[in-house]
């Protein structure tokens, strides 16, 4: 019978099926970080258990870490304790930790792929919803809660019901100034923040196949923002080329064996999905969000919807409330509106390619005086590469501030926050109320659109700067 990419990986990992219930799914890789793991370790200790397969767990500190002076003790006491607890737990349970000061430290979804830990055909989990990122390699990767982190510690398994499957096909060529972040913001705007709940999504089509691994990761990363359990893309030559020679990728004869296996990982031609969506790449323009969930997005040069034109009452109320929080007017365009902050970072857009894209646009230009621009590489390795490639010089000349690796202003948990009432064009993934700090107003966009606003100080159609 014809199988989907998801089926092929799923079937290989089912330990057993419970009648009338979920399946026991074996987990190959388990990433952990400081925020969602401490209670799981505590639970394990309370039951007198060890981590069953510590060599399949990899830890890093990312959410809570400062992005300045990482060599100094963390000032915030609670954050320091949480990071300290991770160090102790990893020691106690023999888990490899890429913590602060380690050359591999960084945002968990950036370091897994860049170290070659993330591989096609795997099942991967982490106590973090953006685990969907790893699906870009043709893996089943999804976020879990802390009780589930404890389950994987104890048994290397999870109880999971098989999700429904959706395929989103994007065919054709992308317009100038349109990058992978725009594709995913476009999809979420089209199907809404809950449009894929209950589904696992495969992205396919010529536009997806033409993307680099980093661009694919951006798309899979935001699958969760439309409610999907995860997103995935079939591995191909671009995937294999990216993986070759990475620190933990298979080497020598192992590589050849794995490669043969990976080449079978694609949906069969006649495989069927519970739902399919077709999108024409040419319809996608640079995108921006205006509301307080990632589904409230528009083309950057379009107007915010006029609320009285929305037929559904619940939807109308939502948008009304979102606009009130955002301080924006229905029916008006965003173009030309001043912003006070630009944040380039997060597990969505903090990889070297994102930063190269920004550098290429801002080279020889300077930021607007009224904007503060923060660039936060996703990992120590990305930071190193930024320097090796001389991108730091470009950013400094442009007046951008470069920080050290971490989640930073993606969520208001560490010191990097956007002040209440101010606007931030952000390359991150969530524009929820207070996400970047209490009262902060977030406009999600691509690294290009964010960089354009940094230069002009206002919401800008990046295509004007690309002429």
């Amino acid at each position: 019978m014809a199988k989907t990419l998801f089926d092929k990986i799923w079937e290989k990992h089912v330990v057993k099926e419970i009648e009338g219930g979920p399946s026991v799914l074996y987990i190959d890789k388990h990433f952990i970080h400081e925020v969602t793991s401490p209670q799981a370790f505590k639970g394990l200790e309370k039951r007198g258990l060890r981590v069953l397969r510590p060599q399949q767990v990899v830890a890093t500190a990312d959410h809570n870490v400062p992005t300045l002076n990482q060599h100094l003790p963390i000032k915030d006491e609670l954050s320091r304790l949480q990071v300290q607890q991770l160090i102790e737990n990893c020691k106690k349970f023999d888990i490899e930790l890429y913590g602060l000061g380690h050359p591999y430290q960084g945002i968990v979804h950036v370091i897994g792929p860049e170290l070659g830990i993330t591989q096609p055909g795997m099942t991967i989990v982490c106590g973090d919803s953006h685990t969907s990122t790893h699906g870009a390699f043709g893996a089943i990767a999804f976020g879990i809660g802390t009780s589930e982190v404890e389950m994987v510690f104890a048994s290397q398994c999870l109880l999971q019901s098989k999700p429904k499957l959706m395929r989103i096909n994007i065919e054709g060529e992308l317009n100038k100034g349109v990058v992978s972040k725009d594709i995913i913001l476009y999809i979420i705007a089209k199907i809404s923040a809950s449009g894929a709940t209950g589904y696992f999504v495969e992205y396919a089509g010529s536009a997806i196949r033409s993307l680099s691994m980093e661009a694919r990761m951006t798309i899979c990363n935001m699958s969760i923002e439309m409610g999907a359990r995860g997103g995935m893309i079939a591995p191909d030559e671009i995937t294999f080329e990216y993986m070759r020679g990475r620190r933990f990728a298979p080497q020598g004869e192992d590589w050849n064996i794995k490669l043969q296996e990976w080449k079978t990982l694609h949906s069969d031609a006649d495989a069927t999905f519970d739902h399919e969506i077709n999108i024409n790449a040419a319809d996608i323009e640079p995108m921006i969000t205006y509301g307080t969930n990632p589904g409230l997005g528009i083309a950057v040069n379009a107007a915010v919807p006029a609320t009285d034109s929305i037929p559904d009452e619940g939807e109308r109320k939502n948008i009304f409330k979102a606009l009130e929080y955002m301080g924006l007017e229905a029916g008006k365009p965003l173009i030309g509106m001043p912003v006070q902050h630009v944040f380039i970072g997060s597990c969505t857009n903090s990889r070297i390619e994102d930063l190269r894209m920004v550098a290429a646009l801002v080279k020889g230009r300077r930021k607007n005086d009224n904007v503060q621009v923060m660039i936060v590489p996703g990992s120590q390795q990305v930071s190193k590469q930024v320097i090796e490639e001389g991108l730091d010089k470009v950013f400094e000349a442009a007046g951008f501030e470069i920080r050290q690796a971490g989640c930073s202003a993606c969520l208001g948990m560490n010191e990097d926050k956007i002040p209440a009432g101010e606007y931030c064009i952000s390359t991150s993934n969530r524009n929820f109320e207070g996400r970047q700090g209490a009262g902060a107003r977030t406009l999600l966009a691509s690294p290009l659109t964010a960089a354009a606003a940094a230069i002009t100080g206002v919401v800008t159609d990046v295509r004007e700067l690309l002429q």
């Binding site: 330990v15 026991v24 959410h63 104890a154």
Partner: protein, 194 residues
């Protein structure tokens, strides 16, 4: 986990859609290393002015003394966003035993079930009927029968729950107990997969 069979209680209405976990428990409260005490920060930024506990926002439902109870009733797509289980811990710690909505985000639903908070999915119609009802009205939730009733009118709807999860909740088992019991099968799987 405590076992859960029936809940009979007044309810707290929150007719908002897409209530995300950043609202249920903002990120700055995730620094704790234990599971306790999150209830006091439940819906923190909707509950207080300027993050100040002495300044409750009067129009927010948790500050409205007309409403109380062990059941939260919320608009569709409740619990979307971050995977933080702290959201389920905060609801549980505050005293909620069930959340009723017409649609739940996946990860939240699992997290709730793993903490003995019952997510009850009802039709949009039924949800609106609850919202339209009296502030002092009560609801009855019967897990064995998989039914929720608006007591005043007797209107009832059945809700779905996975048979395995239902047994767990009714008996107060959790998944780890089960997974530990099949340890040998897991090890066999590992050997055969390699």
């Amino acid at each position: 986990m405590k076992s859960l069979t029936t809940i009979h209680s007044r309810f707290v209405p929150l007719p908002e859609e897409n209530v995300d976990t950043d609202q249920i428990i903002p990120a700055r409260f995730l620094k704790a290393t234990t599971r306790d005490g999150f209830g006091k920060n439940l819906f923190r930024d909707w509950r207080y002015e300027q993050d100040d506990e002495t300044k409750p926002k009067k129009d927010f439902v948790l500050n409205n003394e007309n409403y109380s109870g062990e059941i939260l009733v919320a608009g569709k797509n409740f619990g979307c966003g971050s995977s933080r289980e702290h959201a389920a811990w905060a609801l549980e710690d505050y005293g909620f035993k069930a959340v009723v909505s017409s649609f739940f985000a996946d990860i939240f639903k699992n997290n709730a079930l793993n903490n003995g908070v019952l997510p009850v999915t009802v039709s949009e119609d039924f949800l609106q009927k609850i919202f339209a009802g009296d502030a002092k009205a009560t609801l009855s939730i019967d897990l064995s029968a998989q039914a929720i009733t608006i007591d005043a009118t007797g209107e009832q709807e059945r809700f779905e729950i996975n048979a395995y999860k239902k047994t767990c909740l009714l008996n107060g088992y959790d998944d780890i107990d089960y997974l530990l019991s099949i340890r040998q099968e897991i090890e066999l799987f590992e050997t055969s997969a390699n």
